[in-house]
């Protein structure tokens, strides 16, 4: 999932204080799971903002809506009949949702309510860690299901490097060396022969190096 973290409320106050009618728009998907932008977080932020502005003598209307997703036309269309009631929207979706919202409602200022961080997993409640960088050329089949692109600080393809000590990365002693993890898992799978195969130079054009990307699937287009 896309992992996001809450923005400081002071930052959001600064963004919206010039407006009078503000919609706090949540998303029921990834940001709900990582407890940054779901229905509950929308409620907390809206309540805090209402109290702040009442306390500061500012007449503000702050409403709450949480959509199923903000990255699909059909869900964002659900607010078309209500959007004109608001001067601005604080979207608690990831950066994708914020942008799609902005594209769809051109005249409406949209502010991000969360910082979008990475593609990751919930290791335990309150701890999310990165697992994928969406490089566009998945090599997990050859690395025992552990991604050196997202989990190695250097993103190296033939590791480990000299900075790996006792299974930890030189960047941070709490950070596992991805290549140590790969070697350990290849060993347990009995596939150390794979480790002998060298990766050739990776085609980074499918990563960000090639600019903004798109996936076109004519077979599913109508």
């Amino acid at each position: 999932m896309i992992v996001a973290d809450r923005k400081p409320i002071e930052e959001i106050i600064q963004q919206v204080e010039a407006h009078r009618n503000v919609l706090i728009l949540g998303c029921n998907e990834c940001v709900t799971v990582c407890e940054a932008g779901g229905k509950k977080e929308v409620g907390i932020l809206a309540s805090a903002l209402r109290m702040y502005f009442i306390n500061n003598g500012k007449d503000m209307r702050i409403d709450e809506i949480t959509l199923e997703r903000q990255c699909d036309h059909e869900y964002l269309e659900e607010i078309r009949d209500r959007i004109d009631r608001y001067d601005a929207v604080v979207s608690l979706a990831c950066g994708v949702g914020v942008q799609f919202m902005a594209e769809k409602y051109l005249s409406k200022p949209v502010y991000p309510g969360v910082n979008t961080c990475f593609l990751g997993v919930t290791e335990k409640r309150g701890l999310w860690t990165e697992r994928c960088q969406a490089c566009g050329q998945c090599i997990l089949a050859n690395t025992a299901g552990i991604c050196p692109i997202s989990r190695c600080a250097k993103r190296i393809l033939n590791g480990p490097c000299g900075g790996s000590t006792k299974g930890k990365c030189e960047v941070n002693k709490d950070l596992d060396c991805a290549w140590q993890l790969i070697v350990d898992r290849l060993k347990s799978l009995g596939r150390m022969d794979d480790y002998e195969k060298l990766f050739s130079i990776k085609d980074w054009s499918t990563d960000r190096a090639g600019g903004p990307r798109k996936v076109v699937r004519e077979d599913v287009q109508i």
Binding site: I9, E10, K40, G43, I44, S47, A48, L49, R50, M51, Y52, I54, N55, N56, G57, D59
Partner: protein
Amino acid sequence: MRLSYPSSTKIIRVPCTGKVDILHILRAFEKGADGVYAVGCMEGDCHFNSGNFRARKRVEQAKKLLDTVGVGGERVQMFNLSSAEGPRFAEYAREMDQRIRELGPNPIKLAMKKAA
């Protein structure tokens, strides 16, 4: 025991303090409560293992948020006692009542009255 405690205290019963959400606390202040306190079981004695720890964390979160919005985090507090400690319950109620009286009314309530 027929113990008395301040009549300003309105009790909202929950199955466990683990049920108390930060949203419940914030809404109470939005609706004009001058203070909110959660009374949970003794730490380590929760029937559901971690309910009172969850409540404590949420109370701490609410404190920070209330400080940020200008209501004041000292208006919210977590207490622990066992269900056999009636006198302590009354004592906490008096303590909270006194603290809130010293702090004065919820500024949100005053601002809303002023705006009306």
